[in-house]
């Protein structure tokens, strides 16, 4: 039995091992492969960037749970860092479902380490969960104080400088919704179409395809699709001199590139082996 015969019948656990190594090594030692910026990401970045100096806030909603965390959490961290660096007021919302609050907390903790002069209540506010699903989106149109009452830590919103001046969509420049499901369309239907508040979206690689029409119609300002979108946002931060800490998404993309190439290499080798063995058998 020759090399190719053995290669074709390779125990699949070897494939598992190689995939595992291909993921872990870039995580331990980032490769720093270049990132190419795509228009949907650039548009979202520019829109938020232009809010610098205006007194409008970014409203960042965490509508995802741990299952899509690897893709969506880096987006949240990147957007929070962007706002912190440019002193754009930001309201971080734990999302319409209870599972999102933990995600939002994690993102804030990861983002704030590089910004010692950022002050809670003045530069950002963290809102927790209230029941109501899409009714919450409508209710924010009337009053944030009326909808939530208290922030995540139990402070009354009318005691925090930020929420004293920003109370509904009129003073919100953009709502960025991070979700792997169809919640971004709720924000479009209720916050954009009813109150005219602009919407940006961060979603998983799988869901991104279904949202392209929303970009074309302008219902989304911009979109971050999957880990790649998050990596592009991190890259834009770096290019503009904003500290990014550990660039989770960019490093993840290194791993992505390596594993994709690896799988393609396996497919090619598998085919070479297959044709080699077949030709030999035909001759015989």
């Amino acid at each position: 039995m020759g090399f190719w015969d053995r290669f074709l019948k390779i125990d699949r656990r070897w494939v598992f091992l190689i995939v595992w190594i291909a993921v872990v090594i870039p995580l331990l030692k980032p490769l720093g492969l270049p990132t190419h910026i795509t228009p949907p990401v650039k548009k979202l970045y520019d829109y938020i960037d232009k809010m610098e100096g205006e007194d409008k806030a970014v409203f960042l909603s965490f509508d995802f749970d741990p299952s899509t965390m690897p893709e969506l959490l880096p987006m949240g961290v990147a957007v929070i860092r962007h706002c912190f660096a440019k002193k754009i007021p930001i309201i971080v919302y734990g999302g319409l479902y209870p599972q999102g609050v933990g995600m939002a907390k994690m993102a804030i903790d990861m983002a704030k380490t590089d910004f010692p002069d950022i002050k809670y209540g003045r530069d950002y506010v963290f809102l927790g969960y209230v029941p109501g699903l899409y009714l919450v989106i409508l209710s924010i149109g009337e009053s944030i104080q009326g909808t939530f009452g208290n922030d995540y830590f139990g402070n009354r919103l009318d005691t925090l400088p930020l929420t004293m001046s920003i109370d509904n969509y009129e003073k919100i420049g953009i709502v960025v919704d991070l979700s792997g499901g169809d919640i971004p369309t709720w924000w479009v239907a209720f916050a954009y179409q009813r109150y005219g508040c602009r919407i940006g979206c961060g979603t998983t690689a799988v869901s991104a395809a279904q949202y392209y029409p929303y970009l074309q119609t302008g219902q989304f300002v911009g979109m971050l699709g999957g880990l790649k979108g998050a990596a592009e946002y991190e890259e834009l931060l770096v290019r503009n001199g904003i500290p990014t800490g550990r660039r989770t998404a960019t490093i993840g993309m290194d791993a992505q590139s390596v594993v994709h190439l690896l799988i393609i290499l396996l497919i090619i080798l598998g085919n070479i082996g297959y044709f080699y063995v077949r030709r030999r058998e035909r001759r015989a």
Binding site: M69, A205, G226, L227, R246
Partner: protein
């Protein structure tokens, strides 16, 4: 390196490793995680069903409702009770009643969905419109897609032998289907790798603290 001191992180990490050990081969650790998972799953499912469905849809209307139509809810309760007949050998056939209701409901509910959401929307999107030819490349793309829809439908034409024109069309259809499946497959790889990256970051960062 800062290994986590949080016992819950340790539990999560051990369970993660237990599941991964399955990739090597079946073993008691995987079996442990599997049985725990199934147990938690059924308990979670029962709680979920109870609070999202039985309480708001059955208990609240019956106990606190005022609408006279609420007593219609006694019919599904009766049907539900019939399904418990399966516990007795003699009356196990009673399950056929709730099943029959289900079948009726299937038909009734799936027909509108099939029309509204799928057939019409897909067919309307297929019809070539003037706006689809605003530039030559777009026009060619839309014709390629149009042929894809038509030939795929002919592949699902069952009551005639796939010979002649129908045969050729169905053949083109299966080629299209393969192209589409390849694309879907390749498209999904990234999302799946992301999941693994997420788990590895948990193990290496949250648990072992090897990476910052």
């Amino acid at each position: 390196m800062h290994i986590s001191t949080n016992p819950w992180v340790w539990i999560a990490a051990i369970l993660t490793l237990a599941i991964y050990s399955f990739l090597y081969k079946d073993n008691p650790f995987y079996k442990f995680a599997e049985h725990l998972f199934m147990g938690l799953g059924i308990g979670y499912g029962a709680v979920l069903l109870w609070y999202n469905s039985i309480i708001p849809r059955l208990w609240n209307p019956l106990a606190h409702g005022t609408s006279p139509t609420r007593f219609f809810l006694l019919i599904p309760i009766a049907l539900g009770l019939l399904s418990l007949g399966i516990f007795s050998r003699r009356y196990s056939w009673l399950i056929k009643y709730p099943l029959a209701f289900y079948m009726g409901a299937v038909t009734g509910l799936s027909v509108p969905v099939a029309f509204e959401a799928n057939i019409f929307e897909q067919a309307q999107g297929t019809i070539l419109k003037h706006s689809m030819f605003s530039n030559p490349w777009l026009g060619i793309s839309n014709i390629i897609m149009f042929i894809g829809v038509i030939t795929t439908i002919t592949y699902f034409y069952f009551s005639k032998q796939h010979r002649g024109l129908l045969g050729k069309s169905a053949r083109v259809g299966i080629v299209y289907i393969m192209l589409a499946f390849g694309a879907s497959f390749g498209y999904t790889v990234m999302a799946r790798i992301s999941l693994l990256i997420g788990r590895m970051q948990f193990l290496l960062h949250d648990w072992l603290g090897i990476i910052k």
